[in-house]
Structures are given as structure tokens and as C-alpha cells.
Amino acid sequence: MFNNPQIYLTKVFIQIFLRNKQYIIFSLILPIVILGIVGLNGGERDPIDIGLVDNSESNLSEKFITSLESNNLFNVVEGDEDLLRNDLINGDLMMVLIIPSDMDNQSEITNIKLLVDKSQIQFIQTIEPILNQSLLSIEREITGNTPMFGLFIEDVKSRSQSYIDFLLPGIMAFMLMNLSIAGSGFNVVEFRRRGILKRLFVTPIKPLDFVIAIVLARMVIVLGQLSFIFGFALLALDANIVGSIISLYAVIMLSVIMFLTLGFSIGSLAKTQESVGVLATIFIYPQLVLSGVFFPLETLPEYIQPFAQMLPLSIVADAMRSIASDGLGLIDIYLNFIGIGIWIAIGALISTKLFVWKEVAG
């Protein structure tokens, strides 16, 4: 399938990578640290800290507080209003609930005051229904009304999912992107600048041989690095993979090809080592924020979501998460494959149009 020069060049590229110990360590440290921090936390995000001022100190307020405390989404801190208000301003608390002194006065409507920091609006929207629910159930208990409707919530994804299970596929997708871009874009520009590419093309190898060797070598390197992280998360951090590991690796391999072609385009667009750095940054950083690696895409502003979903990293992270966390099969994520295919076509088009192989070293 592959000829001897291609295989030999592949071996050399892998050898060069393996001898660069510093690079290997640095590229593994970041994901291990991030996963490690989350893993030490039991794989969960911290509960939300809310302050509570109980001016009523009645049975009713006790009940309300107990109901809040029993919800593991919250960490309730009771205290004095001025102190808690300060904590809120300092960002130590997400909100402060103030129970008025007349809470057990059943003849009037009691208003519970909520002090919030508007910048945390997204979290408040999540918490509000829970507060309402707690208040309603207490109210019913007091008035003795039988509820007309009950809401029964069933988790269709009824697995032991933790934040680390969400994070792992995203981190792996992000690593995959970085390793691939470094392997194609940066390497090509560096080899061209130093005249190494020209030296290679003095011999009878064809540009395609060179590209095949880069792709094969990076495939091995990325699979090795990702397997290491994968093993670390599964063994040391107790992460869960629901879907098929073979499907996951199929997505990874296809994604490596996609990011390599995109990396080749960056390398072809950039004439110097400085500009390849800038172009790669422009390519990588927006995706870090917009691709749902650390937080679900749904937390982004709505107008930007359709755009964010089309980013290469979003497509890969979503595909990997669909397999790893949701247990979907390859056929279920065909849309992601179409997306990856389109990006490969774009990358291949740009790099073949712009990369003038004959004049490799100018």
C-alpha cells in the first residue's frame, strides 16, 4: 500500500518526535493537569454557593433551608446580611436569599428577597425554578393542598455521568487539534525555511510521498498521545466511556486527517515562522472558547451557536462526546462526518492551490 521511501520517512518523522522529550512532556502536561484537577474533585463541578439570611427563624424557614440544603446543587452558607452581601460582591457567593422576619405570617404574601450579581445571569436562570419548586412544596404542606399535577423527572441519560466524562472527549479533541496543526503547518514552514524541504525534493520522492509520511507519522503520534491521556483518565480518574472505543478511534483518525489538511493550509498561507504562529493562534483560540470543549455549546449566546457548531473542533468534540458519553454509533453521527468531510475538502483545496511544491524553498 505504501512504498519504502514513504514508510522510511514516516519512521524518521516519528523518531524526530520521540527524541523531542521536552515537547512530548509539555504537550501531555496541560491535559493531565486539567483532567487531574477535575478528577480530584470527584469528577464534578463544585456546587453553587448561595448565601442565606434567616430573619424569620421560624419552623417554616427551617424547612425551606433544609430543602435547599438537601439539594446537592447548592452549598448553603447562613449568616448576617451585610457580611453575605460583601461575599456576593467579592464573587464568593452566587446569590443571597433573604428570608423576611414575617415568613410564618400566613395571612399575607411573603416576599423573599434575592440579591444577585447580574453577570451570573445564566446560573440564576437555572436556580430560579428550583427555588420556586422548594417554596411551592412548603406552601402546599402548610395549606394542606394536594398538588393537582406532579412533575416526574426521568434522566434519559441515566448513567453515572460526571463533569470529567463531559470534559475528557473535549480535551482529547483539543489535544488532537493542537498536535495535528503543529505537525503539518508548523513543520512545513520550518522545513521550508531551513531548506530541508528542498533537500528532500532533490531526491526522487514526490510531494505526495512527503504528505503521506507526515500524515502517517502524525496519526501514530496523535493516537499514542491520546491513548496515554485516555488511559490516565480511565485508570486514575475513573472516567466512563459508554460507547465503542473503536468508533471513538475511527473519529480520531478522521479528525487527524482533517486538522492536518487544515494545518497544511495554514502552512501554505504563512510565509514565515512568525506568521504561521499568528495564523495558528487565530485558528486555535476562538475554537477553544466556541467549541464546547470545557462547557456545553448551549451556554453560548444563541446568535453565535449555529456558527460555533460548524467549527472543526466543535464537530470533532461533539462526535467524540456522542460516542464516549452518549454511546451513539458511527451511523448516528453521520452529520459530523459530513462536516469533517467538508473541512477536509476545504483544507485540501487551499493547500494544493497555494502550496507551490516545485518552488518549495523559494
Partner: protein, 254 residues
């Protein structure tokens, strides 16, 4: 037998000062180089020497004209031509973290052949550096190593682009000896140089290029007789370089 036959070669570039204009870096030159010859191309910077070599080597497209090496058309079958030529480039950087022996093995593999790296290093007097890294070499060693790289496929024709630029006299003379030794095995050698002494010592024939054209071509002897016949020959004594060599010795320092 003519081994390199190039007719009316032209290479056109955009003028860097006026991008709308074109200029010919190589302007209608023809070459006929005999098998077993050491052929020199001389000329000031920007005369088109390197571009001419790179067109012959299949590294740059030939815009007009044609070139044949050992009767193989460079434009039609560049990869076949690359099989039978060896090329030493002006830039000689290599992959990091690889020893000389490993690099030579790589270059052999790219021709899909097996050539013992130690034998190659012996030819260029670098066998004790087999395990060294290319960036640990001195200037002269680097040049000799890049010739070793050009020899991995036992080429019929060896192209050397300014092989002694930047070398000290010892390294330069050692490289001249190497070129003469290779030539004795029957290898055709085409080199570019700025060094007139080098051209006179090594080359059987010389082409002088300026502004993309060959302005003179002959043996060094004939060129001197034709263009500088009256200049009195120096009294029989050495020049400053001979003084330097006499004082510091012939042995290679690197």
C-alpha cells in the same frame, strides 16, 4: 559523449522592484557538458547560476527551452533524472536530533536503495563523526557532509552549488581534493563558484554568466589567453593564501 545538453533555457520571474514587469533570471542559455568533465559556472551574485543548476536538477520549472541529462528529458521525467544526479545545495540544514549516519540512511531510503553510511562518510573523511549531529559540524565538515548526502545514489552527475564559500583555506583545499578524487572515478561534476582560483584549479571548462546570459565559455587557459593575454605573469612565488597554508599547515582543522 555529451551527458548534459541544455538548449535555450529561460527562467522568468516577476521583477521584485516592479511586480508588473517580468525579467529573465536565466536568459536563453545553452550548455553541452561532456561526460567526465568538471564544468564550472562563474558569475557575480544574481547572475543566474543557481537558477540554471536548479532547472537542470528538476527543482525549478523550465519556462522555455529544454534540458537532457544522460538523454533523459528533465521536464518530462524529472524523477528519472533525480535518480542519476547528486545535488549539494547552498543551504545545508537537516532534521534536528539525527546523526549523520541516520541522515545518510534516510537519503538512501528515499532512493529506495541501501548504501552503507560509513562508506559514504569515509569518502568525505567524516567517518569518526557518524554519530554526531549535523548542527555540531564546522563549516567545512558540513560542506563535506552535504557532498556525502549527494553521493548516496552513486550519481552520474554531481552538482555543487558554491561548495567552498565561507570555508578556510585548509577546508577549501581538502574539498578540492575530494572533487578531483570523485572526478577520477568518472563522475561528471558541475559546480558554481565565486572563487577564480577554484575555477582555474578544478574546472576543465568554464562558463561565465552575467545578467542571465553566458558571456564566455572555454577552458581556463583559453579564457585567459583570449581576455587577459598581456597581463604579466607574477614572478614565481605563492600568494597570501600559500603563506597562510605554509604557516598553519595543510592538515584539516575540523
Amino acid at each position: 559523449m555529451t551527458i548534459i545538453n541544455a538548449s535555450n533555457l529561460v527562467k522568468t520571474y516577476k521583477d521584485p522592484d516592479a511586480p508588473s514587469k517580468l525579467f529573465n533570471a536565466v536568459d536563453d542559455i545553452s550548455l553541452a557538458i561532456e561526460s567526465g568533465e568538471i564544468y564550472g559556472i562563474l558569475g557575480p551574485n544574481g547572475a543566474g547560476k543557481t537558477t540554471t543548476l536548479e532547472m537542470l536538477e528538476g527543482l525549478k520549472d523550465i519556462d522555455q527551452g529544454s534540458a537532457f541529462i544522460n538523454s533523459i528529458n528533465v521536464q518530462d521525467e524529472p524523477y528519472k533524472v533525480k535518480q542519476i544526479i547528486g545535488v549539494q545545495l547552498q543551504a545545508n540544514e537537516y532534521f534536528d536530533n539525527m546523526s549523520l549516519a541516520e541522515l545518510l540512511n534516510l537519503f538512501s531510503a528515499l532512493y529506495d536503495i541501501n548504501n552503507d553510511p560509513i562508506d559514504l562518510l569515509k569518502k568525505v573523511n567524516l567517518e569518526d563523526k557518524a554519530k554526531a549531529n549535523a548542527n555540531e559540524l564546522s563549516g567545512g565538515q558540513k560542506q563535506r557532509f552535504s557532498i556525502a548526502c549527494a553521493l548516496v545514489n552513486n550519481p552520474l552527475v554531481l552538482f555543487l552549488d558554491e561548495p567552498t564559500t565561507g570555508l578556510d583555506p585548509q577546508a577549501k583545499r581538502s574539498l578540492w581534493d575530494l572533487v578531483l578524487d570523485l572526478n577520477k572515478t568518472g563522475m561528471t561534476i558541475v559546480l558554481t563558484t565565486h572563487n577564480m582560483e577554484e575555477a582555474e584549479t578544478l574546472c576543465q571548462r568554464i562558463a561565465i554568466m552575467d545578467y542571465g546570459k553566458i558571456i564566455a565559455e572555454d577552458t581556463p587557459e583559453n579564457l585567459i589567453l583570449k581576455h587577459a593575454p598581456d597581463k604579466p605573469k607574477e614572478v614565481v612565488r605563492g600568494n597570501m593564501e600559500d603563506v597562510f597554508i605554509a604557516l598553519t599547515g595543510h592538515g584539516l582543522r575540523d
